[in-house]
Symmetry: C2
Subunit: 145 residues, 2 copies
DNA sequence: ATCGCAAATGCAAATCAATCGCATTTGCGA
DNA sequence: TCGCAAATGCGATTGATTTGCATTTGCGAT
């Protein structure tokens, strides 16, 4: 039982159940966004626990985590399924290789000043943005094509 | 029978069927991205034609148009359905109201110089990007909440 | 203009991600 | 330790999209 997770749940008024603990523990380990189904499979195959976590429970847990902002939900490219990642509270974007679909995180953000301008022009109250950049990664460039 | 559309199809080796003609004609009229279902309903309710276009046909037509790049497919926010828009070959982004989900197009792009830098830093060959900005539109701000 | 046939469409059934209803179980405060 | 609201499991359901197959249609060759 990871004490940091217990604290995280307490701070967000989230009841500490085995299933929630296992989901967030797994997400914290993941370096890139994952689907609900892949979380389900990972937990299913984890022999450290004999009980299996139900897929609908995974979805319910993810909804809760997203609502509490401890997890972020995305959907990349034209995929019509969501991916989830632990919210590390750092503003970042993703660089996606169009050949191999590898997702790389980019630190830093070029949009601060632009958002200010845009808010003034449109009278929207700007809250956040999502930026994905597509290209060909170095290894796919080497392999030609 | 719109001759521009006939030309567009010819240029893209797309067989000119009634259904395809009606779908692209409708998309060209739309100012903002629309779902497959709303295209289906719009064509269904159009009394200028007595034949109705099937929903699976709409999907098949959209897939073809996207493959040929005469139409762009998006999916905004965390909606798990796609929207489609005629590809006007102009680079633009979208501003989405988190309250009413209205989508507004933004002309211009703040990322030209940034992409150059990013390419140099990461050795990716940068191809394109997708930027969505979220906020609260003026009318929703007025209504409070 | 007509014919032939590959390609496109209609329709219904299937699939895939996500959600829901309800009976059972579990974590946590008294 | 007890009680109960909240969480989970499981199966059924929804909503978007896709597919299989029989029928129809557009277009090039005649």
């Amino acid at each position: 039982m990871n004490q940091n997770i217990v604290e995280l749940f307490k701070a967000n008024q989230i009841k500490n159940t085995t299933q929630r603990h296992r989901v967030i523990e797994y997400l914290i380990k993941c370096k890139e966004p994952v689907t609900a189904e892949s979380i389900y499979i990972a937990l299913f195959e984890d022999d450290a626990y004999e009980d299996k976590v139900n897929l609908s429970t995974v979805y319910r847990i993810l909804d809760l985590f997203v609502k509490q902002s401890i997890v972020l939900r995305n959907s990349f490219g034209n995929e019509h399924k969501s991916t989830y990642e632990f919210n590390r509270r750092e503003h970042k974007h993703h660089l996606i290789c169009v050949k191999c679909n590898k997702v790389t995180s980019i630190k830093g953000c070029p949009l601060k000043a632009y958002e200010q301008d845009l808010g003034n022009q449109t009278h929207f109250k700007i809250l956040e943005h999502r930026l994905e950049i597509f290209g060909v990664c170095p290894s796919c460039q080497e392999r030609g094509n």
